[in-house]
């Protein structure tokens, strides 16, 4: 009865996902609550149109695209773990690569959701696809983004799923299959962020984005926020699942964040210098961000806070003493995530539109509907990741096994 095996295996996984302790149910309930109100808010937006957001013709992209951009960065950061793990065979990191790849996949799913809620006509999204739609490739960078993001999603779902599938059957995965994918995934991770940066970068109408340093800045900041998020997740996973993640791996990643942050700050400084010293008309958006423009200051405190967070976190990650102390390490992680979230989210998208192409200043601040939908998508992302971990960790630890073609003794769970 081999053909029944997939069903049996599926129910094993399902059982693993459904059963859990009080804290597990509480967490799922907590996330579901936010997902539900997010869905309600989205239905309202679907019904009334994007008029429910604060976006208008003057600032035509906002909070959704800001979150999208940040999450592309998080997704790209999986490469940070893949490179040392597979290329240099750095053992401590290799063991946690799985969580990085799953995080990347989750982040891409969230990216897709943020794009979907931003569309005026989501039911027509198939128009963007090649063959059945009318994809504008290679002219439109958004078409490129669709390709690279989906490709990246496929790779990052395939590698862990394939690896764990093999593991669940009690076999070692085939390096012949995995290795080329891993090698492709490295430039691919860089590409998703580069393409996303180019998406903004290629618009000469928006001088704030039309700077060559944008793509390098994107990658540098992604290499800060992504791994920082992972460090927090590792610690949680280690605690909850009693998983053996070495401190060595954590500290190594933290050290790498420090270098990435150094580059990020340097590139920021280069941009800051160029704009303020040359003092051309293209300074306006930068001025709006850091000093306010014509009496509009909405983002000023946020941007300085972001800079302060990034600088503080850089110091905390750089000094071995604070890096290897869990309180300061986690503080630094939170600061980096918050700093980059501001800088690469609202701090990137909004000043592209302020001042507008006709000189108008419209201070954008997301509405309740936008915020609720955003929280909903984050909650959904957390739920997806939780479920991934829920059945993958037992497989990884050897506690959950599949029924194989070759008759085996059922596992002990």
């Amino acid at each position: 009865m081999f053909f029944l095996n997939p069903f049996i295996n599926f129910f094993r996984v399902l059982k693993q996902v459904v059963k859990g302790g009080t804290w597990y149910y509480a967490w799922i309930g907590f996330l579901s609550f936010f997902i539900l109100i997010g869905v309600a808010a989205y239905l309202k937006q679907l019904n009334h149109g994007l008029i429910e957001t604060a976006m208008r013709d003057q600032v035509s992209w906002g909070f959704y695209i800001a979150n999208f951009t940040f999450l592309v960065g998080v997704a790209a950061a999986a490469v940070y773990l893949v490179v040392p793990a597979y290329v240099y065979n750095f053992k401590p990191i290799k063991e946690v690569v799985l969580f990085g790849e799953l995080l990347a996949a989750t982040a891409i799913i969230m990216c897709v959701l943020f794009i979907m809620v931003d569309l005026g006509r989501p039911e027509r999204v198939w128009h963007i696809l090649p063959v059945i739609g009318k994809m504008h490739f290679p002219a439109s960078l958004l078409a490129w983004d669709v390709l690279v993001l989906n490709g990246y999603l496929a790779i990052n779902l395939f590698i862990p799923f394939y690896g764990l599938y093999k593991l669940a059957h009690g076999k070692e995965y085939n390096m012949q299959i995995i290795k080329p994918l891993i090698i492709i995934s490295i430039p691919w991770a860089i590409s998703i962020h580069t393409v996303t940066a180019f998406l903004y970068n290629g618009l000469p109408s928006r001088p704030f984005w039309n700077a060559a340093v944008l793509a390098p800045r994107f990658i540098a900041s992604a290499l800060c926020s992504g791994p920082a998020l992972m460090l927090i997740i590792f610690q949680l996973v280690r605690k909850i699942y009693k998983l053996d993640i070495e401190n060595k791996a954590i500290f190594k990643i933290a050290e790498l964040i420090a270098y990435a942050m150094a580059v990020n700050l340097f590139l920021f400084m280069a941009e800051f210098f160029k704009e303020f010293y040359s003092n051309s008309i293209h300074l306006a958006p930068m001025k709006y961000l850091y000093f306010g423009l014509h009496g509009h200051y909405n983002l000023v405190p946020w941007m300085w806070a972001s800079l302060f967070f990034n600088l503080t976190a850089f110091v905390l990650f750089l000094l071995p003493k604070t890096r290897e102390h869990f309180f300061s390490l986690n503080l630094a992680c939170v600061l980096v995530i918050a700093g980059v979230y501001i800088e690469k989210g609202m701090g990137l998208v909004v000043p592209g539109f302020i001042p507008g192409t006709l000189g108008e200043i419209y201070e954008y601040s997301p509405t309740m509907v936008e915020r609720t939908i955003t929280v909903g998508i984050w909650a959904l992302g957390a739920l997806i990741y939780t479920i991934f971990l829920k059945f993958m960790i037992p497989i990884y630890k050897g506690e959950l096994r599949f029924v194989s073609r070759v008759k085996e003794q059922p596992d002990q769970t």
């Binding site: 149109g49 208008r56 003057q58 600032v59």
Partner: protein
């Protein structure tokens, strides 16, 4: 079918097509066609175009109805009849008085500096004596308003359609309202009657309305 019946059918069809043709025309077209009287050909510089008749004041023209037999008086003075014109006169007023443009002998004509008499329908030659560059622009359709068809019959305006000859400067207009600011655009539930109406109704109706004079 008899000839009579065919004839009736033919006439019927003609009427039908004529009605269709009229219905298909834009609402402004008819108005423009009836208004258009003057078609220039004398001047080879000038393209084919149509100019509506000048906006002569009701009951004033022809001038000869009063001025016939009246002795022309070139002195600058307060006029007893055209009081508004003499009071408001503001067109190079130090250099000019009535008979510099109006012909003293045949009062229904205008007189160019050369002594040539022209009708009120072609007054642009008179204006063009001083405003040469603008006259040149006007002839090629760059100065002044034009309507009609970009690749067909065009309707010009005479200088005097827009500029009152005795005080030609444009009178100011009340602007139409500014757009709504972005934070005032919100979701609203409106009944059909509550939907804001556009301040401009039919476009072709308003073609001449804003040529301002007082």
């Amino acid at each position: 079918m008899t000839y009579a019946r065919r004839l009736v059918l033919l006439i019927g069809l003609c009427v039908l097509f004529a009605t269709l043709a009229v219905n298909n025309a834009y609402p402004g077209e008819e108005q423009e066609q009836t208004a258009a009287t003057t078609r220039r050909k004398a001047d080879p510089d000038m393209p084919k175009y149509v100019v509506p008749p000048p906006p002569l004041s009701e009951g004033i023209f022809p001038c000869s109805q009063c001025h016939e037999g009246m002795e022309p008086n070139p002195t600058r003075r307060e006029l007893t009849f055209h009081t508004e014109i003499s009071k408001g006169f503001n067109h190079a007023k130090e250099q000019r008085w009535c008979l510099d443009c109006h012909n003293p002998d045949d009062r229904d004509k205008l007189r160019l500096a050369s002594g040539k008499l022209i009708s009120f329908e072609e007054s642009e030659y008179l204006c063009g004596q001083c405003h040469g560059t603008i006259f040149r622009d006007w002839k090629v359709g760059v100065h002044g308003k034009r309507t009609g068809y970009w690749n067909g019959r065009k309707v010009y305006r005479l200088c005097v359609h827009c500029h009152y000859p005795h005080w030609p400067k444009f009178q100011p207009l009340k602007p139409l309202p500014p757009p709504l600011k972005p934070d005032h655009i919100k979701y609203r539930k409106l009944s059909d009657d509550e939907i804001p109406r556009n301040p401009i109704g039919d476009i072709s109706e308003t073609v001449y309305k804003y040529e301002k004079r007082r």
